[in-house]
Each structure stands twice: as structure tokens, then as C-alpha cells.
């Protein structure tokens, strides 16, 4: 147990200076982020790059449209839950047109017919009802979300529209489908690669971008004020003052604290 003490101290130290108001489990999230990155580097990114490079245009277009059609299906409910009648009907109309005329969503006829694609989902609907984002979560294999926005994934999984005509999707079908979805989504993120890799702290950059973007969408692109991601200037001033005080007092009592840390190291 004693051996764990430095570990807890480290965790507490990490908590003492939170970088972001919405990321209480940052050390855990960072761990999952590193794991995701390793998987991405080894498998997902090469697959997405191959898809980008070798798939003919119509295949990429078709893949984008197919998954976009499922997005539209859930967007219609997201819009409906916010009382946005015209968005909901446009989205539903898109699903009807594209699933039938568009061959299960592979071709996007609805856009040509003037049915607008709307950017709504269940997470946004909850947000518009005043549900806060909750903690930021980095999901294994999936990437950034928040507790509130994870409802979207749950709904997508349990109310899967593909179950309507294929209620008995076996595991391998599911795996293939979610892999294809993941690879298509990853392909769409490829242009952002350079942007993220040049950041001093890519994890923090992605997190702050995700949180701002979702906040912006919940407010229908017109938020009342910018999202306060980290400590305010006043809070930072207070933290600096406290730190200064601490270094002063610990400098005064340094000899006394030495044996204690020595014990922790020697302990079996």
C-alpha cells in the first residue's frame, strides 16, 4: 500500500491544477488517448489512408452517404426533440428519399431535391433542454465524447435502424459495419492530421476543440458567451499566490519533510 502513496500523490498533484473544467478524469483519459493513438497508428490510420488513396471516388462518396443517411435518421429525432419541425421533416424526408431512391443511402438524391441536411443529434437535444455536458470522456476505439453526448452512441446502438430489415445481425456483421464506419469517419479527419500534430499538447487541443464545438452546436451556432474551458484569470492568480505560499512554507520546513519521503521509498 505504501508503495502506492507516491502514485496517489501524483494523481492528487494532477488534480490540484486542473487544466480544464470539464476533464476531471484527465489522467485516465490521457491513458486511453495514448492507447487509441497506438491503435490508430498501427491499424486505423493506414486503413483510412488506403481507403482515401485507393477507393474510387464513387466508393468514398457512397460510404460517406451511407453513414450520412444514418446520421440523418438520428438527426430527425434530435431536431424533433428540440421542437424544430422543419429540420425534423427535412431530415426524415432525406432518409425516406435516400433509403429508397438512393439505394439504402448510397446516393444522396435528397440534397438535389433541396432537402437540407441538418446538424442535430440526441446530445444536442439534451443540451438544449439544459443538460450540461458532464465530464469529458475519451472512449477506447471511439475517441472524444462527454457523458451527455455518449447518449448519442447508446441510442444509435440500441435503436439501430439497420435492425429494421436485418434484426439478426451477427457479431461479425456488426464488427465489419462499425469498422467500416470508423474507417470512413477517420478518412474524413485525415486533413486535420497536420493541425493536430503541430500542437504542443494534442490531447488538450482535441479536447478543447471538441468541447467548444459541441457547446457551439447546442446553442445553434450562437452561444451567449465563449465557453470557459480552464480556470479564469482570477483563479489562476489565486493558484499562483497559493503556490508561492506553499514554496515559502515548504522551504522553511524542508528538513522535517525529508525523512518522511525517505521512508516511503525504503518501504517494501
Amino acid at each position: 500500500m505504501r508503495r502506492l502513496l507516491p502514485f496517489f500523490a501524483l494523481l492528487l498533484g494532477a488534480c490540484a491544477t486542473p487544466q480544464n473544467n470539464y476533464d476531471p478524469i484527465e489522467p485516465v483519459n490521457r491513458g486511453i488517448y495514448a492507447f487509441n493513438n497506438a491503435i490508430d497508428k498501427a491499424v486505423v490510420k493506414p486503413a483510412a489512408q488506403a481507403h482515401e488513396k485507393y477507393s474510387p471516388g464513387p466508393v468514398k462518396q457512397g460510404a460517406g452517404n451511407f453513414f450520412g443517411n444514418i446520421d440523418d435518421f438520428f438527426a430527425s429525432f434530435g431536431a424533433l426533440l428540440q421542437g424544430k419541425g422543419s429540420e425534423a421533416s427535412h431530415s426524415m424526408g432525406r432518409v425516406l428519399v435516400n433509403t429508397t431512391l438512393g439505394m439504402f443511402g448510397l446516393v444522396d438524391w435528397a440534397s438535389d431535391m433541396g432537402l437540407k441536411k441538418s446538424d442535430e443529434d440526441i446530445g444536442q437535444a439534451l443540451g438544449s433542454w439544459g443538460v450540461g455536458s458532464g465530464p469529458y470522456l475519451m472512449l477506447p476505439f471511439r475517441g472524444p465524447t462527454t457523458l451527455r453526448d455518449s447518449s448519442d452512441l447508446a441510442v444509435r446502438f440500441f435503436a439501430d435502424p439497420l435492425d429494421i430489415w436485418d434484426g439478426t445481425q451477427d457479431l461479425s456483421t456488426q464488427v465489419i459495419r462499425y469498422s467500416a464506419w470508423g474507417i470512413e469517419q477517420r478518412r474524413q479527419l485525415l486533413p486535420l492530421e497536420q493541425l493536430i500534430s503541430t500542437q504542443a499538447d494534442p490531447y488538450a487541443y482535441i479536447r478543447d476543440a471538441y468541447l467548444q464545438r459541441r457547446y457551439f452546436k447546442v446553442w445553434d451556432n450562437n452561444p451567449p458567451k465563449p465557453l470557459q474551458l480552464g480556470p479564469t484569470d482570477e483563479e489562476l492568480d489565486a493558484m499562483d499566490a497559493a503556490e508561492e505560499l506553499q514554496t515559502k512554507t515548504s522551504a522553511a520546513s524542508a528538513p522535517a519533510s525529508l525523512p518522511a519521503s525517505g521512508v516511503a521509498e525504503v518501504a517494501p
Partner: protein
């Protein structure tokens, strides 16, 4: 006669530069986005050339100094003038390299000005636009302007609600707390140099 022409052309030039000074943010965004899209289209095969041309076109209208100041936040005051210059230089390089090199995917894009939003006072204003690509959801692109002695200048851009300033302030604060202002300058320039080496 020659004097007349000279006087006329002088007058013309004066009105032109005066017009540039009083150009509204909305008009600036319209003109710049038209020119930028043209640059991207013309240099489709050479993204690096496109990046440099866009940089040149945008530079007189962007207030990189204020942008950096706001991104660095409260620690800006404690930085020396040399440090402030270094921060601005590295931050600008980072923005230009990352954002402007990725512009080629927007060669078929269309930028529509949706309207403006007043800022905190009369010297601030946002221009709201939407970038649309065929068959995709339009992406909101908002420009924050402030009025300076040399006309309206942009000090922040938000892509889909993600503001340049906000998205960096948090990271920058954390780095400065840990490694100081010099640490931040070093991190930024190291990243920029690494990019320069991998990227022609």
C-alpha cells in the same frame, strides 16, 4: 495637363486607400474569401504556393499581435517585448502552416456571409459566414474584428465554434505554468521546426 492627370491620379489613390481604411468588416470578408478561393483553385496542385499566397493576401488584415496576446492570456504582461515578438512570430507560423496548408480541400467551396454580430463596444464586430462544400453540412466560420488606426483587423477566427484563441489559451496557460514563457516559445518553435523539416 500632366499636372492635372497627376493631381487626379493622386486624388484617386487617396480615395482608394481611404476606402480601404473605412471598408466594413463584411466587405473585407467578402473580398478576401473571394480572393482566397481563387488562389486555392489556381494553385490546386501546389498547396505550398497556395499557402504562401493566402498568407500574403491575409496578412494586412490580420492582427497577429493581438491574436497572440489573447491566446497567451494573462501571462502576456509578464513577457518581455522580445518574448512577445517571439511568441507572435511562432504562433503566426503555426497558424499559417497548419490552417493554410489544409485549404486545398476547399477548392470547390463557397463562402456565404450570413450577417454580423456587434461586439462588446463599437470598435468590435463579428462577421458570420458559412463555408459549404457540395453535399456536405455547411461549416460556420466566424471572424472577430476590431477597429484599429489602420482599419478593421481580424483578431480571432472560429471554425465550427472552435476559436483560435480559446483553443490555445488553455494549453498555453498550462505550459507557461510548468515551463514559463521561454518554455512555451521553445515548444512552439520546436514544433514549427519539426514541421519545416518534414514538409519541404
Amino acid at each position: 495637363m500632366k499636372k492635372w492627370i497627376l493631381a487626379l491620379s493622386m486624388g484617386f489613390i487617396a480615395t482608394c486607400s481611404l476606402a480601404a481604411l473605412t471598408e466594413s468588416p463584411e466587405l473585407i470578408v467578402k473580398n478576401v474569401s473571394r480572393d482566397v478561393l481563387e488562389i486555392i483553385k489556381k494553385n490546386d496542385k501546389d498547396p505550398l504556393k497556395a499557402r504562401d499566397l493566402v498568407d500574403t493576401r491575409v496578412a494586412p488584415l490580420a492582427d497577429y499581435n493581438r491574436m497572440t496576446m489573447l491566446a497567451v492570456g494573462r501571462n502576456w504582461k509578464t513577457a518581455t517585448p522580445e518574448q512577445q515578438q517571439a511568441l507572435t512570430r511562432e504562433f503566426r507560423t503555426m497558424l499559417v502552416r497548419t490552417y493554410f496548408s489544409a485549404l486545398s480541400i476547399y477548392k470547390n467551396a463557397q463562402v456565404d456571409v450570413k450577417g454580423t454580430r456587434p461586439g462588446n463596444d463599437a470598435s468590435e464586430m463579428s462577421v458570420l459566414t458559412e463555408v459549404s462544400l457540395p453535399g456536405q453540412k455547411p461549416i460556420p466560420l466566424d471572424f472577430s474584428f476590431e477597429k484599429t488606426d489602420t482599419g478593421w483587423k481580424t483578431y480571432d477566427i472560429a471554425v465550427d465554434g472552435i476559436s483560435f484563441i480559446n483553443n490555445n489559451r488553455n494549453q498555453f496557460n498550462a505550459i507557461i505554468r510548468k515551463d514559463g514563457i521561454e518554455g512555451l516559445i521553445k515548444q512552439l518553435s520546436d514544433r514549427n521546426n519539426a514541421q519545416r523539416n518534414t514538409n519541404k
